[in-house]
């Protein structure tokens, strides 16, 4: 069992995710749980400064948007009403994020493989204007199927973009269908700055995000899809499934251990 900063808080946030998914009959609970610790650390320490959003984060894994909104809600950047209205008709918070800096969303995502090259463009712009901003991209491991990852690795490599951190949520969700195998080995030619961490250990996440070197930083965060709930962890049907009743919400919530 991992000793994280505030386990009780994260358990409560996961329960709120389940409830919001029930209310909206939308959202990707399992993927959100997979990246929740990473998002927790990003929001707490890396993408907000003095409560102000730095416009430096791209959720390339757009389907885990609910996880991002939940952490924003947990940290009081968005209120309960807006959070619980998730994916409703006139909500600013969609099933996939829609660019809206008022709600801390730098880029619209949802179709996989867009976030990293967009962030590379932002990082490049900051290089030429000599600004010191650092950019964070969170993508899924199966998103690595998209050719744009490899195209953008070439770009980052060639242009020495070291003001960008690529976090890959390695939850092995579709490893049997199209194997990525030894991901670190595949990424190694593009960066000498790769960290393989436990993506649910917040100390490790924070430490790896803090490290700095001359290369593009890549963090391979080993995670469990649906992390925290045994029911959601063991059945991939929860990829895009929601509790159908309040009772089911409660049952699912009770299964959350961490």
């Amino acid at each position: 069992m991992i000793n994280n900063y505030n386990m009780k808080k994260i358990i409560l946030t996961k329960k709120k995710i389940i409830y919001a998914a029930f209310l909206s009959q939308e959202g990707h609970i399992a993927s959100s749980f997979s990246v929740l610790n990473i998002l927790n650390i990003l929001v707490k320490y890396f993408i907000f400064k003095n409560k102000k959003y730095l416009n430096n984060f791209i959720m390339s894994k757009g389907h885990a948007a609910l996880g991002y909104y939940a952490i924003l809600n947990q940290e009081k950047y968005i209120n309960d009403k807006i959070f619980n209205d998730f994916a409703s008709f006139d909500s600013p918070l969609g099933g996939h994020p829609k660019r809206d800096l008022k709600y801390f969303i730098s880029s619209s995502t949802g179709s996989l493989g867009h976030g990293f090259p967009i962030a590379a463009g932002m990082a490049f712009a900051n290089k030429i204007t000599k600004k010191k901003k650092h950019f964070y991209v969170l993508m899924g491991d199966q998103e690595c199927n998209e050719g744009t990852l490899w195209e953008t690795l070439l770009l980052c490599n060639h242009h020495k973009l070291n003001n960008i951190t690529l976090i890959i949520d390695r939850n092995y969700s579709r490893e049997t269908d199209l194997s990525l195998g030894d991901l670190k080995k595949k990424l190694k030619p593009f960066s000498n700055n790769i960290y393989v961490i436990n993506g649910h250990n917040e100390m490790q996440i924070k430490k790896s995000l803090k490290k700095f070197s001359g290369d593009l930083k890549i963090i391979i965060a080993n995670t469990v899809k649906g992390y925290g709930s045994k029911i959601i962890e063991k059945d991939n049907i929860w990829h895009h499934k929601f509790p159908k009743s309040k009772k089911e919400c409660e049952l699912l919530s009770q299964t959350i251990l961490h």
Partner: protein, 291 residues
Amino acid sequence: MRTVFPKFILNQIKKDKKIFVLLGDIGVHSFKDVFEKYKKNILNVGILEQSMISFASGLAMENRIPFVHTIAPFIVNRAFEQIKIDLCYQNLNVNLVTVGGSLDYAALGSTHHCPEDIGILSKLPNIKIYCPGNQIELTKLLDYYKLPGPKYFRLSNYTHNLSINTSNNGTLIKKGKKGLIIVIGPALRFIERYYEDLDVNIFYINVVKPLNNEMLSKYYHKNIIILQDFYNNSISGEIVSAFKNKDFRLCEIGLPNKFFLNYGDSNLHYNSLKLSSQAVKKKIYNFLNSY
């Protein structure tokens, strides 16, 4: 037009350092001067069109004004989703400038043709589409690069020689009684030698999107011809919506919806497709006289 674009960039960068040119490994030589004088404002990105469009959107988010330049099909077709989501959905100021739209690269085969660009791009919300008819019009249209939202500039090897005081809403270049011809950009070359003899209203547009339907509706006629240098039916839906609830006959003169499997000079293609100046004249008279 291909020489006008790099010249425009060279002049404009002097005044506007926000400009950033991205080349998809095309036209690198013609931007030699820009590379020499303003190397911080230009990049030959490489042959990765999808990432290039997303990258451009990232530049725009951080307050740069990107111009992306390559051969039409390589971004319009290959990076269509990036254009849709990264540029149009987010409504970012990115300027796409392409060459080879229709048959300019006739001898290189269908992989290098893109007669569908206007048709498919015009279905995307937020984009502005410009089809300049010659170098002067191109220079004038490129001045819109600061306008918000994505823009598509379609550069062609073919131009017309008329000097038109163009307006964004379209320009009536000839008055007449027997019909309305809507001519788009370089397609004006087909009729430039005899257009004054035609007893029709000729309405010239080089801004394909947004179309000013209100303006267009003023020139309603029961005989309508659309003359274009891309696939027929590309924007007829948008045009005829200006004339809703009215009866009219429509004749489209442009490229037929097929792959052009021959090679050779593009003029040979236009001739074989009956899109020479004389053949177009015949089509116009046949249509106007067949009623």
